[in-house]
Symmetry: C2
């Protein structure tokens, strides 16, 4: 995955949870995150694609959760949000003439997949509701 996508998505989902079905627009959300509204809209588009949020266009529009917070699992959010592998996945091309170089990418991918699955498994133990309850 990449840096801030997961953070931004969780921030968005938490806000949407806290306002209980009220529509929030991208500018408001961006104000809480302190980032650009377009970035929020892109992140919302992805959350929408994966069924976590619903949006309403036009005046008075905005977004809201598409599921109950207890049914949004952070492992699922992670998977929806991740774009690249967590570790590695660089464009580096090791030397194919070296026995190690030839196989390292494959071996690392295997290792990283296992590790990332362990991480996802941990995240999957928690729901948005749990996360949101951690706030005062």
């Amino acid at each position: 995955m990449n840096s801030s996508h997961f953070s931004i998505s969780l921030h968005i989902l938490t806000l949407l949870d806290k306002v209980n079905g009220q529509l929030l627009n991208s500018e408001y959300i961006a104000g809480s995150i302190n980032c650009n509204p377009v970035l929020v809209r892109k992140e919302l588009a992805n959350l929408h694609k994966h069924g976590f949020v619903q949006s309403k266009e036009g005046k008075g529009g905005g977004s809201t959760l598409a599921k109950r917070p207890a049914d949004i699992n952070l492992g699922e959010v992670y998977k929806a949000v991740k774009q690249k592998g967590l570790l590695g996945e660089s464009k580096n091309e090791p030397n194919p003439d070296c026995p190690v170089g030839k196989q390292i990418t494959q071996q690392l991918n295997k290792l990283y997949n296992d590790a990332e699955n362990a991480l996802i498994k941990d995240l999957s133990l928690k729901t948005l509701k749990d996360f949101s309850l951690g706030f005062d």
Copy 2:
């Protein structure tokens, strides 16, 4: 952590394992990875700092493992290599006037720490020897 550090470190350690105590210089290693030798030397400096490798300066110098491969645990390597948190850890400063923004960084860090620990725990089940044996 950051992108390629872990990949490069594991590549280095695997090469050193494969040559059985022979000294390898940074140029040779860089040739296998297909990257700049200075990058390798920096990575080696870090591995050295954490006791995984030994280096010999001067003509005919190079690096070798400082421990037996079976005693090098990939979770430890990960921890030695990581520089930033795996997830998040951006310079973003959420809005302190928003109840969610005010606490989100702290809450995310807690979540990320748990998740990263699950990942490290998984990596810790494997040693360099195991990893290296995965190669033909």
